[in-house]
């Protein structure tokens, strides 16, 4: 884990209200794994006070990429970063996706900005059969940047399958059943809950990247508990996650 003041190379709006920020950060670029995240201090001043957690969206040489939308003050300021500015990165944090293991078919399931970690994962899944299912409320929420072999679902039917992405997945069950499959997922909690149920029912391995408000991002504040099967203990999203086997946590 390092703290690094990384020069911003560029910030581009790659989709309506979706930004891709490239920062030069060799030490993090060389260490980070898909599904791990960075905790970013956006200004050098005491406001916004806390770092903001972002998944690494992609890595290319010495550069790391973040994909985000303008949500509040922090992401607004981030979207304005230009060459000559810096971002202060604390990383790599958390446990990423487990790529290793005995499976043939990697299925990515993303909802909205849950797409963020998957361009990098897609690269690293090299050699596996990959299918990507992306959902959103409308066509505009569907972010396909950097992904492969994509099927889309929108709630209003404006793009692809009309319905949610887990329903779309269900429709593909016969095809999925043909291979030993592992699902990698990230998105809103209702999606993850539905997905968890689907995967447990059909005995499909599934890893989900979860979110939670965080203060530190590395285990010292106890601010990010997640309920587990064990009653008398929480796990920490930042340290024990953010990626969990869906069977281990209550989403």
């Amino acid at each position: 884990m390092v703290i690094s003041k990384a020069p911003v190379v560029s910030t581009r709006e790659i989709h309506e209200n979706i930004f891709l920020l490239e920062a030069r950060c060799p030490v993090v670029a060389s260490q980070i794994k898909p599904g791990q995240f960075c905790n970013i201090k956006i200004t050098e001043f005491s406001s916004p006070l806390l770092r903001r957690p972002f998944s690494v969206c992609d890595v290319n040489g010495n550069s790391i990429y973040f994909m985000f939308n303008i949500f509040g003050e922090g992401t607004k300021l981030l979207s304005r970063k230009r060459e000559g500015d810096t971002v202060n990165i604390l990383a790599p944090l958390g446990n990423g996706f487990t790529i290793e293991g005995d499976y043939e078919h990697a299925i990515i399931v993303a909802g909205g900005l849950g797409a963020a970690p998957f361009p990098f994962l897609t690269k690293k899944l090299d050699g596996k059969k990959i299918s990507t299912f992306i959902g959103g409320r409308t066509a505009n929420d569907v972010i396909t940047y950097g992904m492969e072999n994509i099927q889309t679902a929108t709630e209003d039917g404006s793009l692809g399958f009309k319905g949610n992405v887990v329903q779309l997945l269900k429709n593909n069950l016969p095809e999925i059943k043909k291979h030993k499959t592992r699902i990698f997922s990230c998105g809103p909690n209702p999606m993850l809950r539905a997905l968890k149920e689907f995967c447990i029912e059909n005995e499909i391995e599934c890893q989900a990247s979860t979110e939670c408000a965080m203060a530190c991002g590395f285990g010292i504040c106890q601010g990010c508990p997640i309920e587990t099967a064990e009653k008398d203990k929480y796990l920490l999203v930042c340290k024990d996650g953010p990626v969990f086997d869906v069977r281990d946590v209550i989403i």
């Binding site: 884990m1 916004p48 408000a213 203060a215 530190c216 010292i220 504040c221 601010g223 508990p225 008398d232």
Partner: protein, 304 residues
């Protein structure tokens, strides 16, 4: 010029006045990835209770303007795991450990103190009579000056190590209870713990924090904390450990001028886990520039 940064709190000598605040560094493991704990004045471990505590359900934290609210609910590993798993690490990295104790009864405070007293690694006790996030616990004690006196007396009797009482700022006159701490043999007071605060989600109309209220920390509370330190300093002769909103060396200097013998940094550890060492460097430079040979001269040097 070489500057003497050391300070004394009762018979506890610290190599410098920078202390990492309870609840903001866990038991030291994670933060030691970023900072050298052997160089920090001291570390106060997360409030420990007799039995492990699961803590509050999420959401436990929320950011506020220049501050944050937390309601962790004193989640901690409990006395046994603390002794068996946490103390050995702290000994190994050679850090000066102050053990913070939280309890629901006076007996529990005493029992914890006794159980920990034999451990050499623990150099002092900080008694949390002020946590705002546990129902049966701290806050009621903290508001009751008599209870603070009784706790001080009993814990004092249970250990020969320095006893530091951590006070709630949620009272009108903090100096009164500091007087009581002194009378009952306490070695120092830590001021302040967090201020009670809340925040609401304007769509769901629910509190943003599961526990309804939380404790406000960070730069937002610095002026309030400084005023409490000054109040104690002007009214009671007892070493004060100043806490609240410190992010850099200049904040630390303000706290010392206002009356602090040493000070603790909390929230800033989440943002810059090496802040403690940077503050030490900054203090050293400040002393050189202003020709201060002994940093402790700064304490209560206010010109009023």
């Amino acid at each position: 010029m070489s500057v003497d940064l050391s300070v004394n709190i009762g018979n506890l000598k610290l190599q410098n006045p920078v202390i990492l605040a309870s609840g903001t560094v866990g038991y030291g493991n994670e933060i030691s990835n970023f900072t050298d704990l052997s160089k920090i004045g001291a570390i106060v471990t997360k409030s420990i209770s007799l039995k492990p505590r699961k803590g509050n359900p999420p959401q436990r934290i929320v950011e506020t303007p220049s501050g944050m609210l937390n309601a962790i609910g004193l989640a901690n590993v409990g006395l046994e795991v603390f002794i068996n798993e946490k103390i050995p690490f702290l000994r190994e990295v050679n850090s000066t450990v102050i053990c913070n104790i939280a309890a629901s009864t006076i007996e529990e405070y005493v029992e914890c103190t006794k159980a920990l007293n034999d451990h050499d690694t623990i150099k002092a006790f900080e008694i949390n009579v002020s946590c705002p996030n546990v129902k049966e616990g701290g806050l009621t004690f903290g508001n009751d000056t008599n209870a603070v006196g009784r706790i001080t007396e009993k814990v004092r009797a249970a250990t020969g190590k320095p006893v530091i009482i951590k006070r709630t700022p949620n009272v009108a006159t903090i100096s009164e209870s500091a007087k009581v701490v002194k009378q009952e043999g306490g070695d120092a007071v830590s001021a302040i713990n967090t201020l009670v605060g809340t925040a609401f989600n304007i769509r769901t109309r629910k509190p943003k924090i599961f526990n309804v209220t939380g404790g406000l920390s960070g730069p937002a509370i610095k002026p309030v904390a400084l005023a409490k330190v000054l109040e104690i300093s002007r009214n009671v002769e007892i070493p004060i450990i100043g806490i609240g909103g410190i992010v850099d060396w200049s904040d630390a200097v303000e706290f010392m001028i206002a009356g602090s013998t040493a000070f603790q940094i909390g929230t800033i550890n989440f943002i810059n886990p090496n802040a403690g060492l940077e503050i030490i460097e900054g203090l050293e430079k400040y002393c050189e520039e202003t020709s201060i040979s002994k940093l402790s001269e700064l304490t209560a040097s206010y010109q009023i």
